[in-house]
């Protein structure tokens, strides 16, 4: 994974994204991984043609950036927050955590991955103050042996009372978070990601059934009350031509 820092302010809030353009190649939405008002960063994993080319960019190379777009994670001062991060979803939640801590929040960070080596940002998150770092790995190589939602469930069973839960990661994981939060009556904010093109609510590629709202504008971060009305959530998503793909 490569992290790029752009040394100018973008005033992005946690949960927002930018569209990154490689002239002549393509343009892709990317989560803002950090923004301290002076500089901002994105973290890129080389998984496809675009991200491989992007990963090769060096200091001084040029990229096109537009945004920031989308809704943001929000909290109230002194809240007890559970954060459930999976895969690359750790970056925006780390950003949200660092901001929420300034408002006196207390955070349990449930970080899920296949194995210890896949716990991205694992060097950063444990350094946050007032944060319990609770990794969970499928193979048990670090932290809880199993899924992070199971680790969170254990805390809930113990009677830990959360004011809020935030989640960003694979949709099957977030679907469980949505269901549990609903059962326990905990406010939840969920980052719903769909195939995006324009980023500003016009092309319609990222609309979700049955609400028909665009996730680029009304999301990606949505309250659980909205997510509960998205019938496709956890079931399917659509590709660049609008065809459904089951999870």
């Amino acid at each position: 994974m490569t992290t790029f820092t752009f040394d100018y302010p973008h005033r992005a809030e946690p949960g927002q994204f930018i569209n990154v353009w490689l002239p002549g190649v393509n343009e892709r939405p990317m989560s803002i991984a950090f923004d301290d008002g002076k500089a901002y960063t994105i973290s890129v994993a080389a998984v496809g043609e675009f991200t491989k080319l992007l990963g090769k960019k060096k200091v001084g190379d040029m990229l096109g950036i537009r945004g920031p777009y989308g809704q943001v994670f929000t909290w109230k001062p002194k809240q007890r927050i559970a954060m459930l991060a999976g895969g690359y979803g750790v970056a925006p939640l780390y950003f949200a955590a660092s901001r929420a801590l300034k408002d006196g929040c207390k955070i349990d960070f449930f970080h899920g991955a296949r194995s210890k080596d896949h716990l991205l940002f694992a060097q950063h998150v444990p350094k946050l103050k007032n944060t319990r770092y609770l990794p969970a790995t499928d193979d048990g190589s670090a932290g809880f042996h199993g899924y992070n939602v199971q680790a969170w469930q254990e805390e809930l069973s113990k009677g830990v009372a959360y004011d809020l839960v935030m989640t960003c990661g694979p949709e099957v994981m977030m679907k469980v978070v949505s269901d549990r939060a609903f059962e326990y009556g905990i406010d939840a904010q969920i980052s719903v990601e769909r195939y995006m093109k324009c980023g500003f609510g016009v092309c319609g590629n990222c609309t979700v059934d049955d609400l028909g709202i665009t996730t680029c504008q009304k999301g990606t971060v949505m309250p659980n009350e909205t997510v509960r009305k998205i019938k496709e959530f956890g079931k399917y998503h659509r590709d660049a031509v609008g065809r459904k793909h089951l999870y």
Binding site: N19, F200, V241, R243
Partner: protein, 313 residues
């Protein structure tokens, strides 16, 4: 409350504001969301017979002055169209907001095939897109740019519908990028079109990022839209209305407000499409513009909005 309803080829709309083809409009739930936000009806994104890939990103750029797009008409083909259209028709509710199915193809023959397929799905109106400026690299000059080509497509569509939906009204979407739009309009009407949609995007145009010295759109060029194009659309609608007063028109091009829509109706439009307006005012643009039309009618003692159609001579 003024009566905002209009009748287009026998189909009643609660207000004349329809979602223009190409903006939002990929799924039944998206169409319903547009209706919830106040639209009188919706137009689907252009439907192809088979899957058609759009262009890579960036596909749209927009600013205070204009929008430039080359999405490239992506679509999954008729199977998806059938699923979404039947779902919409089943769940659209008692007010029955009309569905205008927009079709596109690469050859005259394929226009007939897709018209027959979509005709079977019982949309309220069929709109034939022969004027997209964003797929020229694939299919050459749009059919709408040559009167004979435009007429051939129209005839083929009407012929195909005879078997499956003989009463389905057909409106043909014209291009502004022609020498004489009235000549094309006449050719299309002579070939059997019941209505006309005026107009598609202008150009294509190009925007260059001077830092990278690269065209911004991946397709290099794209259709131009936005508020400054409204006078062009109004003029085209006016000219066609004067030449063909009996033919109903769906006017599109730069409409953001209820006043804009009224202006277009005075020029001769029965329905008014809003597309780029979604960028400027959000999907709420339909409800906002409808309220503005109502306020204008009330202030000007106009009881029936439809009485304004074609009043500017």
């Amino acid at each position: 409350m003024a009566d905002l309803s209009v009748n287009f080829c026998g189909v009643t709309f609660k207000n004349p504001l329809v979602l223009a083809s190409g903006i939002l409009g990929i799924t039944a739930s998206s169409w319903r969301n547009v209706v919830r936000n106040g639209a009188g009806g919706i137009t689907t994104k252009s439907l192809w017979l088979n899957e058609h890939q759009g262009h890579p990103n960036p596909v749209i750029i927009a600013n205070d002055h204009y929008m430039l797009n080359a999405v490239g008409v992506p679509d999954a083909g008729v199977k998806k169209a059938e699923e979404e259209i039947s779902l919409f028709l089943k769940k659209r509710g008692a007010s029955k907001p009309p569905l205008i199915a927009n079709i596109i193809a690469g050859s005259v023959r394929d226009y007939g095939v897709i018209a027959e397929e979509i005709g079977r799905m019982k949309p309220d109106i069929l709109e034939v897109n022969i004027s997209c400026p964003n797929v020229e690299s694939e299919f050459g000059t749009p059919f709408a740019c040559v009167a004979g080509d435009a007429a051939r497509v129209t005839k083929e569509v009407k012929k195909a519908l005879k078997k499956v939906a003989p009463k389905l009204p057909v409106t043909v979407k014209l291009s502004p990028n022609v020498e004489n739009i009235v000549e094309i309009a006449k050719a299309v009407v002579d070939a059997g079109a019941d209505g006309l949609t005026v107009m598609n995007t202008v150009g294509p145009g190009m925007a260059i990022n001077i830092e990278s010295r690269t065209p911004i759109l991946a397709n290099r060029v794209g259709g131009l839209s936005g508020p400054s194009l409204k006078p062009l659309a109004v003029k085209f609608i006016y000219s066609i209305r004067q030449a063909l007063p009996e033919i109903p028109i769906i006017g599109t091009g730069g409409v953001l407000t209820g006043e804009d829509a009224i202006e277009m109706m005075m020029a001769g439009a029965t329905l008014v499409g809003i597309g780029t307006g979604v960028y400027y005012r959000g999907v709420e643009v339909f409800g906002l513009a409808a309220a503005e039309m109502n306020a204008w009618c009330t202030a000007n003692k106009v009881k029936k909005l439809s009485s304004l159609i074609g009043t500017v001579k």
